[in-house]
């Protein structure tokens, strides 16, 4: 039979953060069904009474008294919980042992002082303050994950030079994701730990590769984000070089993957030289870059995120290298044919509405490779996470409303044949992106149907079964909304290109140097 016990601490003044921490600790104890830790104001006494936590002592308490009340399985459990609360309240405050994790420090110096052994800082302030905070962190010997954007390039150069001098990592600025020693930072996915190390100047590129590695059965040792400008000529690839050196020296890393847009030529030379000296297999995934240069130094070139993940997984797991297979998945061929059958004359365009910038970039490259540059330019691939769309709004990976608006507009545009989407899961992303997207997709298709048209919707989900949102559940939600699903962004883009190409029935043959991104469609028609 449950018991209710309470203790009153007269004229007890502790700050709210402490009170919340103590309450959370007590609530989490085994055998505690309900706990309340509040100031004994009349309104709070009413709430305690409604929760059946009011005792005589609490009823007689005054507003400046602190009350701890619990409902527990038995007396002993209740008393133990109250004693624990009393011990915390009798202590010196937030200077207890738990502070190693839960410090209320308000400056980096205070945090370093209080934590003692800290070696890592995550900085997410408005850009105008970020440089100063990052500099302070570096001066205190901390590696830095710099989530902030709008940091001037000159500041980035200075910060990275300082980090290199001190032997520290500076990830960012505008670093959206990383996985350090198994701890996901920013918009990271829940992936298996393993022996593949990533260094990426591309947020959703890193996410896509790490998710596909997880799905292939391999895992990630470290995933280091370096910020989108790291391979700019002026920054010189400072942190990609640093990350590469660290992974080369890391006994837990067997295979290294480098992910970026094509670097400046001189930077590429430096990075490839370092890759050649790494002493481990290095997969170079410079989207749209020259595969010959990578191969010339003994690295392995991968043209898409999917290819990079497949090659790295095969190397890590000791499996045969994957064939360069970019054919349309037979399982979707029927759906593609069905979609084609519903399109009317004039429906010729692909409209890509992306939340991930790197995924949008990959889609553009695939369209270009499959349709030719001129034809590809007639389609529209938007990165709705770009600054121009996010001023005063949350990123579309967090808040789906902006994309939902574009979705409706795209469906109502008479020339739209295919809407191409990415859905990014993981920590920090919306808790149910597919659940938000599906009604918008259905509404958009209904709106188009109202004007006598059908629109094909093609998507891929960047995520894993271990992500908080669950890959299977998200894909099921999208499938139920009639979305044509692909297992990767590259494959989704190929499906869209295939539909667009067949609609016009006049594909161009383009010879991609790697032959991996997209085989000319006419070759297998």
């Amino acid at each position: 039979m449950a018991v209710v016990r309470a203790r009153v601490f007269a004229n007890s003044y502790r700050d709210s953060v402490e009170l919340m921490q103590i309450a959370a600790t007590i609530e989490a104890l085994d055998g505690i069904d309900r706990a309340g830790l509040v100031m004994a104001t009349p309104a709070n006494r009413d709430v305690l009474a409604a929760a059946a936590l009011l005792t005589d002592a609490v009823a007689a308490a005054r507003p400046n008294d602190l009350v701890v009340a619990v409902r527990a399985v038995d007396d002993a459990t209740a008393e133990a919980a109250l004693n624990q609360a009393a011990a915390r309240l009798a202590g010196p405050g937030t200077e207890g042992a738990d502070d190693a994790v839960h410090t209320d420090a308000r400056t980096i110096a205070e945090a370093v002082h209080e934590l003692g052994t800290a070696n890592f800082a995550l900085i997410s302030t408005p850009g105008s303050y970020a440089t100063a905070e990052a500099m302070k962190a570096l001066k205190h010997g901390l590696n830095v994950f710099l989530f902030s954007d709008n940091v001037p390039l000159e500041d980035e150069i200075e910060l990275k030079a300082m980090a290199r001098r001190k032997g520290l990592l500076l990830m960012g600025p505008d670093c959206g994701t990383a996985i350090v020693d198994g701890v996901p930072l920013g918009f990271a996915n829940a992936v298996r730990r393993g022996t593949i190390g990533l260094v990426a100047a591309s947020g959703t590129g890193l996410q896509q590769v790490s998710c596909l590695i997880h799905r292939a059965g391999a895992g990630i040792s470290q995933a280091i984000g370096v910020g989108g400008r790291d391979l700019d000529e002026r920054v010189g690839g400072a942190m990609m070089l640093d990350g590469l050196e660290r992974l080369a020296a890391d006994p837990g890393t067997d295979v290294i993957v480098l992910i970026s847009k094509p670097p400046a030529v001189c930077v590429a030379e430096r990075v490839l030289a370092a890759a050649a000296a790494a002493g481990k297999p290095v997969v170079v995934n410079f989207l749209g870059g020259d595969p010959v240069a990578a191969r010339s130094v003994g690295a392995i070139s991968a043209a898409t995120f999917e290819a990079a993940a497949a090659i790295a997984s095969a190397l890590a797991l000791g499996r045969p290298m994957p064939a360069e297979d970019d054919r349309l998945d037979p399982s979707v061929a029927g759906a593609v044919a069905a979609a084609l059958g519903t399109l009317r004359s004039g429906q010729v365009r692909i409209r890509g509405l992306y939340s991930g910038g790197s995924l949008a970039g990959e889609a553009k490259l695939i369209l270009k490779a499959m349709l030719g540059a001129d034809r590809a330019a007639t389609h529209e691939i938007l990165d709705l996470g770009d600054d121009q769309y996010t001023v005063g709004r949350p990123h579309p990976m967090i808040d789906p409303r902006l994309r939902n608006e574009y979705l409706l507009a795209a469906a109502l545009e008479p020339s739209t044949a295919v809407i191409l989407l990415d859905v990014v899961l993981g920590y920090g992303a919306h808790p149910d992106p597919a659940g938000q997207l599906s009604p918008a997709i259905q509404a958009a298709r209904a709106a188009a149907a109202g004007e006598g048209r059908q629109v094909a919707v093609v998507a891929s989900v960047c995520g894993t079964d271990a992500d908080p949102q669950g890959l299977a559940a998200q894909e099921a939600t999208l499938a139920a909304a009639g979305v044509l699903l692909a297992p990767s962004n590259a494959r989704a883009a190929r499906i869209a290109a295939e539909i667009a190409a067949r609609v016009v029935g006049n594909t161009r043959h383009t010879a991609d140097a790697a032959g991996v991104i997209g085989t000319p469609l006419g070759a297998r028609a």
Partner: protein
């Protein structure tokens, strides 16, 4: 500049700013006997004749009835304890039992009165700000706590509070101060925290109304007759100051950001607002947004 010095075992702080009404009273030596009321890591509350005087580091920002001191401080490590006697005149605050002296001679007065701003941008950005606040709340400790037990959660985790706050808003829309005060009464002292969540939210509503020069501003004064019996001493002070249009500098900055015309500052302003305290920041922001929306609602009586 190093503002803290240790001299012969006495720790000396230099005050930088003092709330203007307190500044005047100190200048005129009109303070009753003072004692230490409560001590936190970065805050000492002194009590004198039923009111509180706050002492905090300068980086905390201006406080109504507050004295700000230069440099970082951890008052609990300096042996300051509740109940200690305090000597206070226009030259210094001295807590001699703890060897603590705060020099007042270089301090400037600071006005806690929130400036009246132009609210014309608010209706167009209200939705976006709510979305930002929602997203930021999901990332914060307080937001996370909202999905756990009510004891650790903020205002909106307590059954019925949304409706009560909505009643306050409806009364504000009608500029009915008496009805707003009546609707506010059940929220006073309600919720977790040293300043209970309901109090933080009501102070937020008042901040919005005072910042817009709304005719319902000050409605709380009609709900505070027995406030000392209904909430904590610290919170009672918060509500009294709020009813007079006096707020922390943090609140000034939040309202300036929300009512200004620079969208780029909004995410940072909301992030900082929510990060304050355990649930106080979020609860205060809930109140501010409710107040701004109510003040901007169609049907609001115009002043002109």
């Amino acid at each position: 500049m190093v503002a803290m010095q240790s001299v012969c075992g006495t720790r000396t702080y230099v005050a930088t700013r003092i709330g203007d009404s307190l500044f005047l009273r100190i200048a005129r030596d009109r303070l009753a006997p003072v004692r230490v009321h409560s001590v936190f890591r970065s805050l000492i509350n002194l009590t004198t004749a039923g009111e509180l005087i706050a002492i905090a580091p300068d980086e905390a920002g201006g406080l109504p009835n507050g004295i700000l001191v230069a440099g970082a401080a951890d008052f609990r490590r300096q042996r300051v304890r509740a109940g200690m006697p305090v000597q206070m005149d226009n030259a210094a605050v001295r807590i001699l039992d703890a060897g603590l002296v705060i020099r007042l001679d270089a301090a400037r007065p600071w006005s806690a009165r929130i400036p009246v701003a132009d609210g014309r941008h608010w209706p167009a950005r209200s939705t976006a700000v709510h979305a930002l606040a929602h997203c930021e709340a999901r990332r914060s400790d307080a937001g996370a706590a909202m999905v756990s037990g009510w004891a650790t959660a903020g205002l909106m985790a307590i059954s019925g509070t949304r409706q009560r706050l909505a009643e306050v808003s409806r009364a504000v829309v009608r500029a009915d101060r008496r009805a707003a005060a009546a609707a506010a009464r059940p929220l006073i002292g309600l919720g977790p925290g040293l300043t209970p969540s309901g109090d933080d939210a009501l102070a937020g509503v008042e901040a919005a109304l005072h910042a817009l020069g709304h005719p319902a501003a000050g409605f709380l004064a009609m709900a505070l007759d027995d406030v000392a019996d209904r909430t904590t001493t610290v919170s009672a002070m918060l509500l009294r100051h709020a009813s007079l249009g006096e707020f922390t500098e943090r609140t000034h900055r939040l309202l300036a950001a929300l009512l200004g015309d620079n969208d780029a500052v909004l995410p940072g302003a909301i992030e900082r607002a929510i990060a304050w305290g355990a649930t106080s920041g979020m609860d205060g922001l809930i109140g501010v947004l409710a107040g701004l929306d109510a003040a901007a609602a169609p049907g609001r009586p115009r002043l002109d």
